[in-house]
Every structure is written in C-alpha cells, then in structure tokens.
Symmetry: C2
Subunit: 382 residues, 2 copies
C-alpha cells in the first residue's frame, strides 16, 4: 500500500441504476475517491460482501477469481485497475506492466482488452503527473458509458412490455422468461436483458420474471434471482427444463436473454440452453428477444452456427455444485458417480430465424444483416 494516504483524485461519479428496492453497485469509487469497491460475486447469493480494491493486484485478482464477471463489468474493473496502478506509480514502465498484468487475467474477454487498450491510449500521451487524474476520469467514463448503453437498451425494450401489459384486459401480470444472468451483476448498472424489466418495474408495470436456474453454473438461481429480489421485482426460479411447458400453457408472454456474441447475420451465441428456449418460443408463438450492447456484435462473422467457437469448460462445473448447508456454511458437493465422464459446453448458438428482434441501445433491430445494418450503418455494410 504505497498510496493509502494520498487524497482523492477525481470527483467523477458513476450514474445510478434502477432505484426500486435496495439498490446496490457492482463497482463504485470508495468515499476516499481513489480506492474502488466491488461486490464479491463469488459469494452470492449466500453472502453479500463488498471488497475494496486498493492496488492493481487487487483488480487483477478480482477479475481472475471472478469476484467480478460479465464482459462490461470486467471492462470497467480493468479500467479502474489501470487507475489504481497509476495511483501507485504513474511511470511509463508501470503503465506497460499494469496493462500486461490485467490482460493476462482472462485472455479471451473482449471488453477487458478493449478497456486496457483504451486506458493506454488515453494515458500514454500524457506525462506521469497528469496520468492519475486522467486515469480515474476515463475509467469512470467507461463505467458511465456502460450505464448509458444499458439504459438505452431498457428504453428500447420497454415498449414491448408496455404493449403486452396493455393487451391484458384483466390487468394480469406480464410474464418474462430469462436465461442466465444478463443483469446488473454482469454490468456496471441496469444489465442488458434486465434493463427493460427494471424500467417497467420502476414505471409500476406488474412484471414477473421466470428465472431459469441456468445449469451448470446456476447464474440464474444465484445471481439473477438475487438482483431481482434486491430491486423488488417479482420472480420465480425454475429448472431449465421447465420453460417449454410454461410456454405451452400460456404462462410466458415474452423471452428476453442476453448474448455473448452476435454474428452479423443475427445468429446469437449465448449461455448453453438459450437455443432450446428459442425453439419452444417459436413452437408456441412467444416472442423471443435478445438484448445486446452494440459492441457485442461481431461484424466479421456471417454464420454463427458454423463460425462461433463454443468454449468447453471444466467437467467439475457440472459434476460439483456449491450451496448453503442447513447450518449456513457454503459447501461443495458432487452430483455424479465417481469417475463419470462429463461434458461442459458453455454456450450455444440460436439461429437468427428464431429471434424475433435484437434490442440495442439504438432501438430494436430485425435479427438479420439488413436489420442490423439499418441501425448501425457505420458497420453494417456487407
């Protein structure tokens, strides 16, 4: 701790997310103005612990150990990690070393590399004396930009929920089904798939969310359920197997999921199991929307099913699971016979033909090259 006694370097602030219930921040400047507080997501939903990051190493550890996760939140954490590094030592050498350390934490995360490069671009041209202040300003801008994009997604998607509500002559609740966590916890605020839901809830719509537990890592049961609960949004956790039955029985009005990567033709790579829900939605005439910040569109990929590589992860994520014992301890248990072969595919690709629309910060695009090009003419030329 070389810098525990220095004064705050910026007054920039991150805008707020949804205001209902008991709001929280995934990442925020500490009251001293230079340390950075994060919510430790590895302990959710069993413990709510805020961790203070005071060094570059703290930030690298937070990303590597998945105390923070979700592409936008990783990007913001990396940006603040660069600021913490500059706070300790604003030399050229340390700028290089910090960038290297952060990028190595999760090598495949696009937002991480982008945020680190952006910080280097801004800071590289400045003298060491100006870097501290500039680093905090730019990191906070990056965080604020995420909030603005997600709020824009919410604004784009809100009318979909309002239309459904208006069509219910008896004032019945609007039932949304979502998969995985494309929520506040994956971002700096609002989330992507959850942004229209939080906006609708703030406006007083009677919206209820079916939360797929999302095996194997259970981001739905542990993260989405937790954050919806914190904001007072009615929700029900279900096994991933359940959505088809609910749609068959008219209990789902709309599906909204996030995406990890969207191909230029509108194919959507998202958490494994998304494709099954899209099939059920089509079979039952339920609209299936995908919410995305435009940076997750990969304009270089024209066939998602053929060309988006699907990560295979450790078998242990399927065969072992963590939870809270009766005694309140967090314990890991094995679910399969000893020595059982297990496969763990992390994502699947939902073909564009099953996607009703892509909810972006600029509006809703048809899931096609033409649809995307209309909203993003600067990228969308074939």
């Amino acid at each position: 701790m070389t810098s525990a006694t220095t004064t705050a370097t910026t007054t920039a602030t991150i805008p707020e997310g949804p205001s209902t219930g008991a709001p929280f921040h995934t990442i925020a400047l500490a009251e001293d103005g230079w340390a950075v507080d994060i919510l430790d997501q590895t302990l959710l939903p069993h413990r709510e612990v805020t961790v203070r990051m005071e060094t570059l190493e703290d930030a690298a550890h937070a990303i590597f150990s998945m105390q923070v996760r979700g592409a936008p939140l990783i990007g913001a954490t990396a940006a603040y990690g660069m600021a913490l590094a500059m706070h300790a030592d604003a030399s050229d050498d340390n700028l290089d070393a910090a960038a290297k350390t952060l990028v190595a934490t999760r090598p495949t995360a696009v937002n991480l590399a982008w945020a680190v490069d952006e910080m280097r671009r801004v800071l590289g041209s400045l003298g060491a004396n100006a870097r501290r202040e500039a680093a905090y300003v730019r990191a906070t801008e990056i965080a604020a930009e995420d909030i603005a994009i997600n709020h824009g997604i919410g604004t784009s998607g809100l009318p979909l929920l309002e239309e459904i509500a208006a069509s219910k002559t008896g004032g019945e609740r609007v039932n949304v089904l979502t998969h995985c966590n494309a929520g506040i916890l994956a971002t700096v605020g609002w989330g992507t798939a959850t942004a229209p839901i939080y906006l609708a809830h703030e406006k007083g719509l009677d919206v209820h969310v079916w939360v797929d537990e999302t095996r194997p890592r259970n981001q739905g049961a542990s993260l989405t359920a937790w954050e919806l609960g914190r904001h007072g949004v009615p929700h029900t956790v279900i096994a991933d197997n359940t959505g088809g039955h609910l749609m068959q029985q008219g209990q789902v009005d709309i599906c909204i999921t996030g995406t990890d990567r969207t191909a230029a033709n509108g194919d959507v790579a998202n958490k494994i199991g998304t494709y099954l829900k899209a099939l059920a939605a089509q079979d039952n005439g339920v609209p299936f929307y995908v919410a995305l910040p435009s940076p997750t569109i990969d304009w270089t990929i024209t066939d998602g099913i053929k060309d988006i590589p699907i990560e295979q992860r450790a078998a242990e994520e399927v065969s072992w699971i963590s939870g809270r014992t009766e005694a309140g301890e967090v314990e890991r248990v094995c679910l399969v016979p000893a020595d059982t072969a297990v496969a763990n595919y992390a994502f699947d690709v939902t073909p564009a033909r099953l996607v009703t629309g892509l909810i972006t910060e600029r509006g809703i695009a048809e899931a096609s090259r033409g649809g995307l090009a209309k909203l993003f003419p600067e990228y969308g030329k074939a």
Copy 2:
C-alpha cells in the same frame, strides 16, 4: 419377525437383465426364498446398499421413502409386499389390511394399485393355507412379466441402433441422448428407454449415451449414469441445457426417452424437459423415439397437452440438492437466495407430431391413434 424360521416358499425366480459389466438387481428374492432384497435407490449414486425386506411394513416403507421408484418396480415391490404379509399371516383380515397399507404409500401410482388388486384377486379365492406359496409365485410372475415386456421393448428398438451403426461407414460410435431415468432402476430389469441400448451393447455395438442430468431431481446424473456405468456402457453426463447444441453439431444420432403416460393420440407425458429435446431433435432432423410398456398408454385421453394433468412438486426439490462432499459425506445444500419463490413442474407433454415413433414390446408404433391401434387392436378402436 414371526417368520424368520419358516422355510422357503417358492422356487420361482426372476429372469436376468443385461449381462455386461457388473449386473445388479433392483429387487430379488433373498437366498432364504422368502425375504426380498432391494437396492436402496435413495442412496445412489453415492452408496450401494442392499436392504432386506422381511415384513409388509418394510415393503411399505421402501415404496413410501422411494428406496424403490419407477412405476414397474413399485408394482413388483408391492406384489412382494403382499407376499411378505401372507408369509407372516395369511388370514383374510391380513390380506385386506396389507392391501390398504400398500395402496396408501403412493396413492397416484397406477402400477401399485394394479399389482395390489391383482394379488388380492389371485389370493382372495384361496384358503389361507395355499396363500403363502401362491403369493410368492404371482409376485415373481409380475416381476418376470416386467422383465419380458422390457426385453420386448429392447428387441423392438435394437434395429434402430443397428441401422445407425450400419450407416456409419467409418465405424463411428452411435450416439444416443436420453433424459431422466427410464432404466433398469425404474423397473425389475432392462429398463424401457435403456433396453435397446443394453441389447446393442451386449451385441458389441459401439453405443455411447449422452445422459441429461435431469434437474431438478437429477435422475440422469445419479441413476442413469450409475446403471450405465455398472454395465460398462460408455456415457457422458451433460447439463439439460446441452442437448440442442449437441444436435446442432451432429453429435446425437437418436433420442430415446421413457414416458409416464402416453395419450391415445400419441402425445407423451414424461419428465419435465423432454419436450425441449423433442423440439431440438425436430429442428435438426434427429429421430426422437419414446420407449414404453403398453400399460402406460392411457386410451381414455385423446389430447395429451390439454388433458394430462401436470403434477407440481415441492419447491425444495429445485432449491435444495444433495451430493457427496469432499469428505465423502452426503450433504444437502440450498442453491437460491433465502425466501426465493420457486416453481417445480414435474412433467411436460411432448406433442405426437414431434415423436418419430413409440417403441413398445410389440414393435414400433407411429405416434398417432391409428399407429397405436394397429399394434394394439384390442384397445385402439376410436
């Protein structure tokens, strides 16, 4: 224990199931010829414990506590429960009392009521002296009939796997996907969906099974994986979310599931999530078969989606899960935030249009009233 010193009352035996690997019995007469051994399924896959039933109460407890489960196995256990009751006291009063006790254990199980009624029918007309022997003979016949039906399903379904194997010019393995446990552990032997698989494996076909873990009760990960392992059938456990991706990537040649109830029009009620796999199979041109003993056909129901009631079970089955700790203890852990609403639908209905065929002990039927009537003309008249 009134009867520990009496001699064996029958020499009838249950035929064997598949012979590869390390075969086991779900239920079997003990070597003394009157007690009955069951495999305690509540402890699988973590412990393999055989429980000896010596009294009616033992049998009732085994059914109630789900030491045995699966409709055919419950039926056989109830039949032996009646035999154990007669072994202790073959009076008319005890015949009535035993029937009442057993039927009350799981009131909705069709095979249970059928087996108890059948035992009463056979024993009611006999004098008390003849009942002991007759009870064991009929119980063993009921068990043997289940084995015969399931072996018949296997014989009907085997050519499907042989055709796939023959079509693979490079000798690649045949990949079957199954959901839940429609295996030996649900029956007296062979299982239903697993019967063609065990027969194929015995014949030397290179068959591999993708085992859906089958949340929330995880019958796939804990039971199907265990019994396939015991018989040496290659298999891989996957999260329920995975099947769509595997089919999209050409890694599934055929789906075979069981069914809890089949409507006269071919609609199939089975474990929640079956419908999602059938949709993915259709979307990818993968044949989707359902294996069933003909007694599970409900000739009175003509629209499965409208008319088959779907059981809702305890939320705890979704929010809590059992497994083996690092220390080898079996422990229960909670997966969701405290006070989270959870819904638990046990089954869904797969419409006949998604079912390639119904594999029965008489052959493969088209999933339609006409298709079923052709194989079962005695019931199938509209």
